[in-house]
Amino acid sequence: MSRELNLTLQIWRQEGPHDDGHFETYAATGISEDMSFLEMLDIVNEGLIQDGNVPIEFDHDCREGICGTCSLMINGQAHGQEKATTTCQLHMRKFNDGDTIVVEPFRARAFPVVRDLVVDRSAFDRIIEAGGYISVNTGAASDANLTPVPKEASDTSFDAAACIGCGACVAACPNSAAQLFTSAKLAHLNLIPQGQPQRFERTESMVETMESFFGSCTNHGECHEACPKEISLDFIAFMNRDYVKAKVKNRKLAGQT
């Protein structure tokens, strides 16, 4: 028999982007410890709907921890206190019976609240549009291993590519900076041969787009702690180096490398 929890929830309710929000208190009773945090919210919403109230809006999609749609500041931490875990993978067994849980949306000026706990993270899309891709003419599939990639580079690039773009880094950052997200997206492509032709152009353009939306990094390291994919701060240093390199380079003469 799984344990059952009775919880008090303090949840941020906000009608729309231009309304003042406020906390509302809900009781979540008979919550199975095997539920995920989002399933617990589903139960609360079911109760709200049955009583004829407006359910709590929150973002979710795959519920497997890989899509980056779920968010939530849970007790003052992005995706809750569990390390390397998204909200959908956070299980209620991590909480105790009788706990009060405070749930707030991710906050930054570039992440306006759409409703309740849902925020608009499309600023991240603007950063990706600025250079988070490689431009190649597609044709017939090339031979496997045609482009040699050093094992270490491919591993590190893969670590960076693990970023799901959930925005926890921005939410956790006291400066609302998006350095961890942008640097992960840059390192993902800049570390491997396929990304080299546009490496510095990409860095300049993505960094400058990022800076038009977000604050400035002060190297606290909160983003890394909040990141459900444990993206390393090392990528931020890599981005800082590449950005100034990109500015100093004359790409007509030096090519990209």
Binding site: G16, C217, K247
Partner: protein
């Protein structure tokens, strides 16, 4: 959920660059470039703090050696250039680094404040409506925007105290730094100001020394651990060195007794230094 009828303002840039300055000034237009400037000037200022602390250790050798050290600073560059010329070049360089360090810090703080919700005015840190739980941010990193202004105020106090001798009055003897330090630090409230300000300085340096490596992209898993160690070492050395002066003057281990030259007799110090 139905899509919102009007798209929310999430895609509207908060900051726009009005124009692009010519190279290399355009680097300073970006936050990352400003962090570079903050880090590079930080290295320069840190170098000054370390050298200043080491130079001050001449106090332990006595009034004559302190005078000799101060004089050697004024005659830097030897006969190649006029007396105090090189010293003034260094002073102006330091002042320039201070201005850049403060400007980059202040403007980036403002950027972060504007990019955040509910950010407080001075610290510029984003606030949540509920209690925020910090994991990695330490006391030093979170107080940079407080220790910074404290250091600036302390710097002005320190200059007025020991460079210009504003409130030591007749007790301030130009050319006798040993005596001036003893006269200033034997006053308990002044000694307390020095202790508090230097603790703030060390806290600032502790985060800064680590942070500058990140800002400049000096990062390699092979030596990343050493960056924290270096920050602890530098902060520790400065803490011990700088706090030793007010503490030892207060405890009476450094005082104006047993001087070979009378207080105010700078000519005597010069003679002794020549013999030395």
């Amino acid at each position: 959920m139905a899509a919102p009828a009007t798209s929310p303002p999430g895609s509207t840039p908060i900051f726009r660059r009005k124009w692009q300055l010519p190279f290399p000034l355009n680097i300073y237009q970006s936050s990352i470039g400003r962090k570079w400037v903050m880090a590079l000037t930080g290295i320069g200022l840190l170098g000054f703090v370390v050298v200043h602390m080491i130079g001050n250790l001449h106090i332990y050798e006595g009034p004559v050696q302190s005078h000799e050290y101060a004089e050697s600073l004024r005659s830097l560059g030897g006969g190649l250039m006029p007396r105090t010329f090189l010293l003034w070049v260094l002073r102006l360089g330091l002042a320039g680094m201070f201005v850049l360090h403060i400007h980059s810090a202040y403007s980036l703080k403002e950027r972060s404040r504007k990019a955040s919700d509910k950010a407080d005015f001075i610290g510029g840190e984003k606030k949540y409506h509920s209690k925020r739980d910090y994991v990695a941010a330490n006391y030093a990193s979170r107080t940079m925007r407080w220790t910074g202004p404290i250091i600036l105020l302390y710097l002005l106090f320190h200059l007025a105290d020991l460079t210009w001798g504003w409130w030591l009055g007749d007790n301030y003897v130009l050319g006798d730094p040993y005596h001036n330090v003893v006269a200033s630090l034997s006053n308990l409230p002044v000694a307390i100001i020095y202790v508090v300000a230097n603790v703030a300085l060390v806290i600032h340096i502790f985060h800064g020394t680590w942070s500058l490596f990140q800002s400049l992209g000096i990062n390699n898993p092979k030596y990343n651990e050493l960056r924290r160690t270096l920050a602890k070492l530098v902060a520790g050395v400065i803490l011990v060195g700088n706090l030793s002066f007010p503490v030892l003057v207060q405890t009476g281990l450094i005082d104006d007794d047993n001087r070979t030259c009378d207080v105010g007799d700078v000519t005597c110090l010069e003679h002794q230094a020549e013999k030395h």
